[in-house]
Symmetry: C2
Subunit: 292 residues, 2 copies
DNA sequence: TGTAAACCATAGGCCCATCCTATGGAACTT
DNA sequence: AAGTTCCATAGGATGGGCCTATGGTTTACA
């Protein structure tokens, strides 16, 4: 069964006449007749009574008619939905790590909302390795994540670099120290993110570089929880600068560390082969604009 | 847009791989790729992200997918509904004249109900000329009507012949006459069916043959009404023999007329070119069987 | 009733769309 | 770095659908 057969069938059913149906379908009458006959053979039923003057639907024909109409209407709908659909290509799925998402995405989404009202952004928060895999698998249009990311399939566009800061509670002994070095942290208890977190890995590597293994008191999945625990004096932590917000002032102290200061670089990653939707382009445009 | 394109699209969407989709669709990979590309061009959107490892639906692709599935499912349903449908071809539309329908159709339908339980009979009552036109137009599978019917497009199969009987109320002066001739009716008032009724025409012609014009008191559209009026003594009528039923005994008297007795012949008419459905065959079979 | 017109099916040839194989280039895997 | 996988392109082959011509019926009309 093919669509042109159904179209021809419908033309005959509506004009009740093969010749005029052929005109309407812009084919010759023999071609149309042949296709209707083929359709009848395939379906195993005569679809029309050929009465000479008129062609009248058989019962099978009448049964098929309603379905044929619906099928053609759906074909039509599908084509139309895609062809005049400006809001299509405007839905994107963006990933970000837990240390980026809460601090960049809200503002970014806010800008997009005013600048590109039709843009629909779906955000997903996950650890870097998961984000990388999702971008490779095509599940995400793009992701905001810390470096390093090395994969030949990915486009990596760094957007900013920032120091990692020591975070302690306001009452913590380290809070009042004029300067803190890495080795000062060896005896303290750390509050870190989950095992999959790339920040946690970086902190552990940082400590290893200074010849001590961090004592880990708690693992959380959210940055907010880390801050909460640190503010209670349960331990210390190391967080990127973007995590510092005004509301922290009363309870937390962020300190740059002297010596070889740890830092991280944040980038946008995309799949090199992925078809770039308009929505993704707009989002990237807003991001670059904002960074200036 | 053609169905094979949609089938190919669906195969790719489900296998996420052009090569395997081609195998599944029993075409070569280049053919399938080409058709998907054509479809994308027609729709004006890329449907897949070609990521090398996988082919992942774009947003447009995802939108189209649900529609494509439904379309193919409906195609499938339509084909299946017609191919394994024993109850199809079992619905017939039968016409009969007012002087035939109430007396033949109920019994006939009753027989069919037991003999062919799946046969669905839709009955339509109308005058002969309308029935003839409806059969020619293909609206009726067949019709039971009185003769004459002359049309080269129709098959006419006579099924029985019967006399037309004089009908009078039990109290009517003619009721006790040992014999009645046509000319005896000249002075009486007639109750007849509508102007389009072929019986009425026949009665008028019968009277004309005997050199008088019938005085028409009332015209009704139903035989039952004629009987009712006749039984009240409002007038007399002439009806075919099949119209006589047991319940009439108390109120009506049917009398054969002497001289050249009027009669009518009832036949089944069908369109010679009409595709003969199984239902129609069964109905005719039951009719012929019953007449024996 | 005979003739012209309308209608649908068949026949035969043509042609373009789709199909195929072969191949290239890019990416992924080992 | 080599082999494998994957999709797109190219070019030639093929067949399904299209066309014209025509025949057989039916229908309309004079």
């Amino acid at each position: 069964m093919e669509l042109h057969q159904i179209r021809y069938f419908l033309a005959v059913a509506e004009s009740e006449n093969f010749t005029r149906a052929a005109e309407r379908a812009h084919v010759s009458q023999p071609s149309l007749s042949q296709q209707v006959i083929n359709l009848e053979k395939e379906l195993g039923h005569k679809l029309f009574h050929r009465l000479g003057r008129r062609a009248v639907l058989t019962e099978a024909g009448a049964t098929f008619l309603s379905r044929a109409k619906r099928i053609l209407a759906e074909i039509d709908d599908a084509a139309r939905e895609l062809s005049d659909a400006p809001e299509l290509d405007r839905r994107i799925v963006v990933g970000a790590t837990p240390t980026v998402a809460p601090y960049l995405l809200p503002q970014l989404i806010g800008r997009c909302r005013t600048e590109f009202p039709r843009l629909l952004i779906h955000a997903r928060e996950d650890f870097r390795t998961h984000l990388v895999r999702s971008v490779i698998e095509g599940e995400l249009d793009l992701a905001l994540t810390s470096l390093p990311v090395k994969d030949p399939r990915l486009s990596v566009e760094p957007i900013f670099k920032e120091p990692l800061l020591l975070v302690v509670g306001r009452q913590h002994p380290l809070a009042k120290r004029p300067s803190v070095t890495a080795t000062d942290l060896a005896e303290h208890t750390f509050i870190l993110l989950g095992d999959s977190s790339s920040l946690t890995l970086q902190v552990q590597r940082f400590c290893g570089d200074h010849a001590f293994e961090p004592k880990i008191g708690y693992r959380c999945s959210q940055v907010a929880t880390v801050k909460e625990l640190v503010s209670l004096g349960v331990g210390i932590s190391i967080l990127p600068q973007v995590c510092r917000v005004k509301d922290d002032r009363n309870s937390l102290v962020y300190k740059r560390m002297t010596g070889r200061e740890p830092e991280r670089e944040v980038a946008v990653i995309r799949h090199l082969l992925r078809y770039q939707s308009r929505g993704a382009e707009q989002f990237l445009g807003a991001l670059r604009e904002w960074l200036k």
